[in-house]
């Protein structure tokens, strides 16, 4: 006869405010096998946990039900509590009286009845719990960081400096991410390249870090401590072992193509490094635009004009590093932990018809302005109007383009635009004292350290005119851009003849972040930002053990937060990899050999190939579970008609007793 202890929590007034806790305790006492029932103000507090431990000892309890908040919050906490009192941590069940009861129902009588039912179900389930013992599983002490922006770089450096091997995978030919496209950084106006490039070099030279640029993660298998990742290394057509990065090839390459790095404002060659300080500082060949590749394709189809055979880079390369026969290659590597730092991309403002839908060349995005202001940019730092390369005098900034706007499906605030617009206003005034900046804004959000002061400086020292209101239309009137807006503080329409309009475009999740999330089995929200395990308490972890997320891939974030996030994720990985072995989750499937008829429906449905074939003494071939691969989803249990396979922690008996106690109450 087991003795079950039920501990009902007030959670301050969160539960006690609606649910009549004493009534629940009384009802619990009357339930079968319940030997002890009590209530606590805060069961998760030290006092609360102490009362559980004492009750276990004094009342000789062998099973515990905690009726409090969601098991997703404190199941582990209470498992540790009962473990310290000498009880197997899995002889515990949590009844959700807060998120699923008191917080969503106002009728106290019905909420209490529901609470009692939830406790009754928990008691019925815990009565069928058995002691479970986690197993130790080997661990690959290697980490994979996906995304070579500042967040990924920071995470990789921290993990590597803790002595673990790191592979950093970057989709572009060079690491650096969005930050490498910036000119200055707020609020300190540090030059972005000056603070980023050293870290990029560190990443390239760090003995523990293997940098796989121009590569993408294709598939991820396995589980925490034992991930197996297929990485696609795209064909560079250049042998980076022999290439010294002397630059002859990209200086002589005849094919000029618009540069993605410069966001269409500048050009690059077919064989190129995206920007001067690129790391690795060795080029890749753009297969679409390389003249020789076009020539090769032409030879197969023989249509249209015969393109030149070119191969100039091959002729001029001092180290003969051009390797036309190079193929893309998939390498499969084992890792213990994964960090996703895939960063963000800026909002495509061409959806705004009222701002010219991308037709007016002098209406540019803020990142394009960064390129114009950058010394390594297409105009070597001279801010010129893309239409006629003249110096703009009146510059209009429009805030919240693709942020805080339901019409384009981006209701969230991108957090950093107010700050970089203030930076732009300050820097532009420094570049050219005659510049007059106007900023159309809804609210200025400058919530970081020294941020508000920085934003004030843009208005007080740099003379930027901040107009609270939205711009209704921009149209080209001869050489100038007419900006029709409104200053809602004085309630008057405003019209500005602008030489240059800069749209403060918001932040979005990077390209096909959803596909990567699905590969990693982590969830993402409707904007494709990755969902962290808990927004407040576990910001860099995810639902999947061993997969961590950091930086702007999780949500709009500025550089200081991204770096902090990168280090936080690294700390989590270091914590994980510092253990010699991992304790697996014991909630795995188990086969009853006498009942299995060997139809292997379980093997057909198991997503993790965790079902193996085993021959019994009397020659029958039956199923058996590889517990290190089994993730405890339970698909096999439902597929098994004779009920030969069961799932620890959610056994058929436990779930059935929950239903039976509910319907036969």
């Amino acid at each position: 006869m087991s003795r079950i202890g039920v501990f009902v929590c007030h959670c301050g007034t969160n539960i006690g405010g609606i649910v009549n806790v004493p009534e629940v305790v009384e009802a619990a006492k009357a339930m079968p096998l319940v030997a002890y029932a009590d209530e606590n103000k805060y069961t998760c507090s030290e006092v609360g946990q102490g009362s559980i431990r004492d009750a276990i000892r004094e009342q000789k309890l062998d099973r515990v039900v905690v009726a409090a908040c969601s098991p997703r919050m404190h199941e582990n906490t209470f498992r540790k509590t009962v473990a310290t009192a000498g009880l197997n941590p899995y002889l515990l069940e949590i009844a959700n009286l807060r998120e699923h009861c008191s917080w969503v129902h106002s009728d106290s009588k019905k909420a209490t009845a529901k609470a009692i039912d939830h406790v009754r179900m928990a008691v019925a389930k815990v009565a069928r719990h058995e002691s479970l013992f986690p197993k130790q599983v080997g661990l690959t002490k290697r980490a994979l960081v996906i995304g070579g922006g500042i967040t990924g770089i920071q995470a990789a450096l921290d993990i590597a400096s803790a002595g673990h091997e790191v592979v950093l995978v970057e989709k572009e030919p060079s690491v650096g991410g969005r930050m490498s496209q910036l000119d200055k950084t707020f609020p300190t106006l540090d030059c972005s390249a000056c603070i980023l490039t050293p870290k990029m070099v560190d990443v390239a030279q760090h003995p523990n870090i293997t940098l796989l640029s121009y590569s993408e993660v294709k598939e991820v298998r396995g589980f925490v401590g034992n991930f197996e990742v297929d990485i696609l290394k795209k064909a560079k057509m250049v042998d980076h072992k022999t290439c010294t990065g002397c630059g002859t090839c990209w200086q002589k390459c005849p094919e000029k193509v618009t540069s993605e790095f410069d966001l269409g404002l500048g050009q690059r060659t077919a064989i190129y490094i995206p920007f001067a300080q690129a790391v690795p500082n060795k080029p890749v060949i753009d297969m679409e635009n390389c003249r020789y590749q076009k020539y090769l394709k032409w030879t197969q189809t023989e249509e249209g004009k015969k393109p030149p055979e070119c191969r100039i880079c091959e002729k001029l390369c001092p180290t003969k590093s051009i390797a036309w026969e190079q193929q893309e290659e998939i390498v499969t590597e084992k890792f213990g932990a994964l960090v996703v730092a895939t960063g963000f991309k800026t909002f495509d403002h061409s959806v705004y018809g009222e701002y010219g839908a991308g037709r007016y060349p002098d209406v540019i995005s803020s990142l394009q302005l960064e390129r114009l202001m950058s010394a390594a940019g297409p105009t070597e730092g001279e801010v010129l109007r893309p239409s006629d390369n003249t110096h703009p005098k009146n510059i209009v900034f429009i805030q919240c383009v693709g942020s805080r706007d339901d019409k384009v499906g981006r209701p969230y605030c991108s957090k950093v635009c107010c700050m970089y617009t203030a930076k732009h206003a300050i820097m532009l005034k420094e570049h050219d004292p005659e510049v007059q900046c106007y900023v159309f804004y809804i609210d200025i959000r400058a919530g970081g350290k020294d941020f508000e002061e920085f934003a004030r400086r843009a208005q007080d020292e740099s003379g930027a005119v901040y107009l609270r209101g939205r711009v209704s239309q921009i149209y080209q009137d001869g050489k100038t851009l007419k900006v029709l807006g409104e200053d809602s503080l004085i309630g008057r329409p405003v019209e500005i003849d602008a030489d240059l309009v800069v749209l403060a475009t918001g932040m979005e999740a990077s390209e096909d972040a959803d596909r990567l999330a699905q590969t990693l089995h982590i969830s993402y929200n409707i904007y494709n930002f990755l969902i962290e395990a808990h927004p407040k308490l576990r910001p860099v972890e995810t639902q999947t053990d061993g997969v961590f997320v950091a930086g702007a891939a999780v949500g709009p974030r500025d550089i200081p937060d991204c770096v902090a996030h990168g280090s936080a994720a690294a700390a989590k990985v270091i914590g994980l990899l510092s253990q010699d072995s991992l304790t697996t989750d014991p909630l795995t499937a188990i086969v009853a050999p006498m009942k299995c008829v060997g139809c292997f429906a379980c093997k057909a449905v198991c997503p993790f190939n965790a079902i193996e074939e085993q021959t019994t003494r009397d020659g029958r071939i039956i199923a058996s579970v590889n517990e290190s691969l089994c993730k405890g989803c339970g698909l096999c249990v439902v597929a098994c008609r004779p009920g030969a396979i069961n799932l620890r922690g959610f056994t058929n008996q436990q779930l059935l007793s929950e239903v039976m106690t509910l319907v036969r109450r």
Binding site: S106, N525, P607, L655
Partner: protein, 136 residues
């Protein structure tokens, strides 16, 4: 049927998405009728048709199974299998006399707290209108 003959709805929620969605409904205080009793399962693929038929055999008025949106499953394929099982089961139950509307399947993600509250409210109202089970 509970005492005041408002319908008894039994909910099987997958731990990674729908149960978290229900938690989200809680944290954002999205009220919904208290008829539902929620059971946590690792995945919608763990919900056994035997359990669902047992609920109806024992007189439950309605069963809700909620899992991750196809493609989002924490175990990659759980809801795909679940979808097939429930599609077949729902037709069989309908054929046996349990109205199709009494067995509802929804894909609710971890961030759709409001939608969870809406689904439960709609479902409970629908069941109240449908009235008690006439046979068995």
């Amino acid at each position: 049927m509970s005492e005041d003959n408002s319908p008894l709805v039994i909910g099987f929620l997958c731990n990674w998405c729908s149960y978290a969605g229900a938690d989200m409904a809680g944290t954002s205080r999205q009220a919904y009728p208290p008829n539902i009793r929620i059971m946590r399962v690792p995945c919608s693929g763990r919900v056994d048709p035997l359990l669902i038929v047992k609920c109806f055999e024992e007189g439950a008025d309605a069963v809700l199974v909620a899992g991750c949106h196809p493609g989002d499953c924490h175990y990659t394929e759980g809801n795909y299998h679940g979808r097939r099982r429930f599609a077949l089961l729902r037709d069989l139950l309908d054929f046996m006399g349990i109205e199709k509307e009494r067995f509802r399947i929804e894909w609710i993600s971890a961030s759709e707290g409001k939608r969870f509250a809406k689904v439960v409210s709609e479902f409970t109202d629908e069941m109240t209108k449908l009235g008690p089970r006439k046979v068995g």
